[in-house]
Every structure is written in structure tokens, then in C-alpha cells.
Symmetry: C2
Subunit: 416 residues, 2 copies
């Protein structure tokens, strides 16, 4: 099993200071699920009454922990989150559901919390039974050792093929009282034999009821995690959850139940910031990537059409290999626009790489300076803008990375 | 511009003997569109009254020649086909339509045929104006030299990044009289800077009216050219046309106007064979490919669902890189089934590589012999079969190739 060990060249240069979120405590342990000499399980203990929201993979073959979380989410409350790496408990048949249940039982017993308020995730090998009895040996210690401030260590414990842990933080005021939003994520790295999971968890001390939290999360995810793609492959286990402990109420923050409440404006913005930051970090850890690519589509019939066109460009192997080759290949972008199936006016299309307009009114821009554009393409961040020419006001931005030989090596050469 | 020069390892080992189709004559020439020292234009002269059918790219940004052919197809008759390589006349704005028209004018004058019966295609660089005046210098000679039997040379003249010319032939009886179906194709090779076109032409002496021909073609293409994928990228210029000269009528073949006519049964089968053969040859010339992959999906809700699931597997970079790595990675296949968005029963899924069942009832097959499966994966042809477990009778087969580092090199390294 050949892991990519070098940190992605697109990794953030430093980590933010992470303030503690009151009502959340973290612990990590080595349960020996698959790896040796590293942590592979994290526990987040949540204050009683913590509100929860979540969004999950759209896969028709979701993992057992996804089924478990979806069912528990209906209650709206959370007391503990248990995540392991090394085994995804995905495509494990009916055995998988039993493993998930046993994990929750062990956690419920150790935390004295109801099973219905335990949330789970597993990431790592798929198709192998997860031996949940391994959690027996560590759960007591995890509960005993749980402490505020362990977010970065928790992020490390759930890494699989990530080359760096992913965390983000922001602050916002609700009713004049400052609240904190911390987040962590692991990427969609899919190395030998079948790692395949994007996980992200966000913790806040804001007092927000689960339904309002869910409404905000469902909206925010559209512009962040649902607007990124590394290779168009969707995992069976993708999970994004937000936990709101409500501890800021003690400092005077009002409890908010309506997602349209005006007092949530700053919080929404901060949540968007954290999710966008984390989702970009996932892309920046895409296998073999060397370029971070932002694609903005304008002039589409509507926002949904713009997003579909954007993702069609972002998922095009020919566009992605051209970017890896540092070529401003607008012809491939036109082909990707065309195949998206959305309205576009071929003879009004315009395309920019950075500030350089390379195509205009459906053909090569006569003023296009190849040497300047080539220099731009050598950069680490590539911005592509496409006006698809329908005259509509639909716009969307999506993010991806380039497709390099290293991607193929990481995903195809691991047996050698 | 670094072209892949070696012939694909998956190329056919020999060419079939190609019988002549009465009523079709071919000629090729060096018009100097872009290449030096090779032919880059082909003319097919068709007997008066030749019936024509066609299917074209679904791209919303089609090339100028595609627009031209779509308009002329309404007449149902064809006298000449002109195809050039070196320049795709795609994304050339309003200038492109003028170039197409001028090409047709030159051909119409030289052949004394109406403009409405001239069909065109261009393949090669996109976004560069096509200088149609170059056809002036060669069209007279092309008409003068046109002769039966030049199909293979014609196939060579329209190659861009193909590593071998693609031809196929079959015979069938209509009303007891033997007719011939010959076909040629060029692949979807998309090398420097933006080659992006799949073209295929089929010629028959069968007397079949254009509407019946169109109905048969539209049906046949679903199981052949619309069931293949190299990299999920759709060209702006994809074109497949069938020309029926009707010459076999002189030998007693009946004129058929109804696509449901029972006398067409054998012809349909032969047409299917030719299109399937040509479409497979296109996949076998996929950039950097080393494995030809056949994916059969069973147990889906219906045939359309099965095909969508099949293409989701065939287009998954993770599945394709695993095949390049000779790994029977069924976990990635499950992920690809799940992301297709079609109904599947996770806990009833079964997957075979060749005759080796690797997954059963939603988890790893306990009888699965890894060494035998590994040996199978070293082969050149890989068959994958997936029962998605809904109990439905929907089934479909699609074809693709593996995704190798050479693909990325060919499509990303051409500047170096």
C-alpha cells in the first residue's frame, strides 16, 4: 500500500488559532482498526441539549454509519460523535448495520447518553467488516480524557490519505453576543485499496435549534461542499454535520428557532466562511494536484444551469489535464460547456483565464496575448471565467484541481 | 506538439477485405490545411438518389459543419461528402458558417450536385478559422480521380490523433438479394491543441428510403456509439452518417420505406455489427489505453437506468485507474453505482470480473480467490458484470478503456 506521503503543495501555510467551543470536548485514541502507530478514533463529547444538523452523500449505496446518522438526525439532538479511520464500514451488508449499532452501544454506555443521540462515521477500507469490539478497549479512556481544545488532534485521527489535517474557525455575533464556529474536515482521498470518504464536522456554541441549523446548513453546503469536485467520484460515506451546544446562551445569546431570523445574518456568513474554507482545503489535498482551480460561470439561464456547466468544466478530464499542462486551452472549455446540456450561445461565448480574455463572441480573442496567458497558467491558483452568452443572470462558482500523472499513479499504481 | 505515434496495443491485428459498394466512389488529397506530407481531405461521391441518415453530437455548442449537415439532412438525399482533417471549423463564430458554405459551394460546383445534397465534416484544431479556399485547388482532381474501393485511404485521410484507420464491413440479404455495408470511423482523440471529433460514415448499396434509414440508425447508435466512452468528454463535432445508394435494386433488392419492414431484419443486424465494430475500434484507440473494458449492468429498474449506471462506472476515474493498475477494485464500482442516481439495492449487489464473482449480497464474496482474479486483471480485455440487485430486468452493456498516465501525458504534456 503506497501512500502519498508528501504534503500537498497547495496545503495552507499555517493553521489558525482555534478558540475552544464551550460544550464540546475531544479525545483521540489508537484503537488499532488498521493503522499502527497513529490515532484512528476520535470522540467528540457534546453538552446535553446540543442541537444537530447534517447532510449526507447522495449515493444510492450509502455506508452503514450514514444510515445510522440519518435515522438519529430526526431527533435533532446529539451527545456524542464517534469517528474512526482505517475502515469505512461501507458495503459490508447487514453486518455493517450491526457494527454501527454496536459502536453506538459502546459509546452510549461509556457516555451515559441515549443511543438516539450518538452519531457515527467510519472512513477507510470499504467492503471489510468493521470489528466494533475494538472500541470497547478505548471508549472509557476517551470519555475520561475528553477535553476542550483537541480539535486539531481530532482532525488528525480521522485522516486517511489526507496529506494534512483540515481545520477552520470563525466568529460571529448573535444578538450582540459573540459565538464561535470551529470546523474540521478530511478529504476525499481514495488510495489503496478503496478509501472513499469526505467527512466534515462543525461545532458552535451558538444557541440555534436543530431545524434552523439544518436549514442554514443545507443552504450553505450548496455553495461550498456541493460546489467542489476532485474527480467527479462520490463516496458512499460523505457526511457533514453541525453541532450547536448553545453554551453562548449563558452569555446572553438568544435561542434562535427560525432560520430566517435576522439575528442570524452574521452567523450564516461565518458558517459559509468556515464551510468554504474547509471545502477548499479538501480540494487542495486532491490526489496529485498542483493547481487550485476556481471556475465562474456567468450569463447562464439560471443559477442551477450555471452550476451544472461549471461542474461539467470542472469534471472534464481534458480541461483538467490541460491545466496540469499549463495550457489555457479554451477549446476544451467550450466542449465542456457544450456537453453540460444547458443553454449556451456558441457565438456569444467568452472565456477568461485570470484577467486574460482568450475567447470572445464565439471565437479566439484577436487581442489575446499567448505569452502573458502562458505565464499566468504557471501559477498555483487558476481562475477561469466563462460567459455562456445566453444573456441570462445565472451565475455560479465551483472549485477543482488539475489532473496529473500523480493522480493516476496514486490511484492506479498502488499494487506495484 | 507531441503526438502519440505508436499504434495502440488494442488495435485490430488485421484489416478486413473491403468489397466495393456500388454507387460510392472515394478520393483523397493533400489540401495542406494543417499537416504536411499526408492526405487531409476525402471526397465520397454518391450516386444520384442516394438516401442519407445521420446522428450528431448532443453538444449545445456544435461545429459549423454539424449545423450544415443537420439542415441538409431534412432533404434526405446526398450526392457528396467532403471531410477534412487538420481544422475542425468548430468555435469559429459566424466565420465558421461561411467556411462551411464555401466548402459546399466548391463541392457542388465540381460535382454538379445541388448544395442541399452536399454533406461536410471537419476535424482537427478548433477555434481557428478554416480557409475553405484551399479546397478550390483540390476539388476538381478529387472528382476526377474518385474511384470505388478507396475506403481505407479515405479513413486515413480523416485521421487526426488516431493511431490506426478504422474500417468495418458486413453483408446482409434484403428480399433474397445480398447487400453490402461498409463503414469507417475516426476516433475521439483529443491531442494538442484541441482535436475533438468522432466521425463515422457508413455506405451501403441497399435500397432503403432515408426515413427508414434514419429510424434504423437512431436505434442502432444507442447500443454502439452511444454506449462507448473514453473520457466522458463530448465533442462539438461528433457525426455519424449512413448513405444508401440503392444500387442493389438493379440486382432485384426491393426498395424499403418502412423501418419495421420484416425484410430489414438481417440488414439491421448487419448494421448493428458494423457500428459496434467501429465504435469498439474508437475505444481501442483511446489515448494511452492498454485495456478494453466491457461493462454489463443487470438487475436494474429498466434499460435506461442500467445504461446510466454502466456509464457512471465507465466514466469513473477511480474505476479506470484501478483497471490500469490491474486491480479488481469492486469498492470503486460500488461507489460508481451509488453515484449514478439510479435505484440499486446495496445489500443485494453482486460484482464479477470475468467469471470471478468478487462481491455478493452487498459484501465481499467469501469464495473470492484473489490470485485468480489478479491473473485475470492482467489481460487486455476486462469484462465487468454488475447485478445492482433491484430484481428488475433492466440490462445494458457499455465499453470503455482504462485511464493511464499516458492519457494525462498525451493530454497535458503536449507543450513540453
Amino acid at each position: 500500500m503506497a501512500h502519498a506521503t508528501a504534503v500537498s503543495p497547495l496545503a495552507p501555510k499555517s493553521y489558525p488559532d482555534l478558540p475552544e467551543v464551550e460544550g464540546v470536548r475531544f479525545a483521540t485514541a489508537e484503537a488499532g482498526i488498521r493503522y499502527k502507530g497513529r490515532t484512528d478514533v476520535m470522540l467528540a463529547l457534546l453538552a446535553k441539549g446540543t442541537q444537530v444538523a447534517g447532510v449526507f452523500t447522495k449515493s444510492k449505496c450509502p455506508s452503514a454509519p450514514v444510515d445510522w446518522c440519518r435515522a438519529n438526525l430526526k431527533g435533532g439532538k446529539a451527545r456524542a460523535l464517534v469517528v474512526n479511520s482505517g475502515n469505512a464500514n461501507a458495503f459490508t451488508g447487514k453486518v455493517g448495520a450491526k457494527s454501527a449499532k454496536m459502536t453506538a452501544q459502546i459509546a452510549a454506555k461509556a457516555t451515559a447518553a441515549p443511543m438516539a443521540e450518538i452519531f457515527l462515521a467510519s472512513t477507510g477500507v470499504i467492503g471489510e467488516p468493521l470489528d466494533a469490539t475494538k472500541f470497547n478497549g478505548v471508549m472509557g479512556d476517551l470519555v475520561a480524557q475528553a477535553a476542550p481544545g483537541g480539535l486539531l488532534e481530532a482532525a488528525k485521527a480521522i485522516m486517511t490519505t489526507d496529506t494534512y489535517p483540515k481545520v477552520a474557525t470563525a466568529r460571529a455575533k448573535i444578538g450582540g453576543v459573540e459565538v464561535i464556529i470551529n470546523g474540521m474536515a478530511k478529504g476525499a482521498g481514495m488510495i489503496a485499496p478503496d478509501m472513499a470518504t469526505m467527512l466534515s464536522y462543525v461545532f458552535t456554541d451558538a444557541p440555534i435549534a436543530s431545524k434552523a441549523l439544518q436549514a442554514m446548513l443545507s443552504k450553505s453546503v450548496e455553495g461550498s461542499f456541493n460546489s467542489i469536485t476532485v474527480d467527479s467520484d462520490t463516496s458512499t460515506s460523505d457526511t457533514l454535520m453541525v453541532f450547536a451546544t448553545g453554551a453562548a446562551a449563558k452569555r446572553g445569546a438568544p435561542l434562535i428557532k427560525d432560520p430566517k431570523d435576522k439575528r442570524l445574518v452574521a452567523f450564516k456568513k461565518a458558517l459559509d466562511t468556515v464551510l468554504l474554507d474547509l471545502s477548499h482545503q479538501v480540494v487542495r489535498d486532491g490526489e496529485g494536484c498542483r493547481k487550485f482551480v476556481e471556475i465562474t460561470v456567468e450569463g447562464a439561464a439560471n443559477a442551477a444551469a450555471a452550476k451544472r456547466i461549471g461542474l461539467s468544466i470542472a469534471n472534464s478530464p481534458l480541461v483538467k489535464t490541460a491545466i496540469a499542462g499549463e495550457d489555457a486551452n479554451w477549446g476544451r472549455i467550450v466542449a465542456a460547456v457544450g456537453k453540460a446540456g444547458e443553454k449556451a450561445d456558441r457565438d456569444k461565448l467568452a472565456i477568461w483565464f485570470g484577467d486574460f480574455r482568450v475567447a470572445h463572441k464565439g471565437l479566439r480573442d484577436q487581442t489575446y496575448d499567448e505569452s502573458k496567458t502562458s505565464a499566468y497558467m504557471k501559477g498555483e491558483k487558476i481562475d477561469i471565467r466563462v460567459d455562456v452568452g445566453t444573456g441570462g443572470r445565472g451565475t455560479a462558482t465551483v472549485w477543482t484541481c488539475d489532473l496529473t500523472k500523480e493522480y493516476v499513479a496514486i490511484n492506479g499504481d498502488y499494487r506495484s
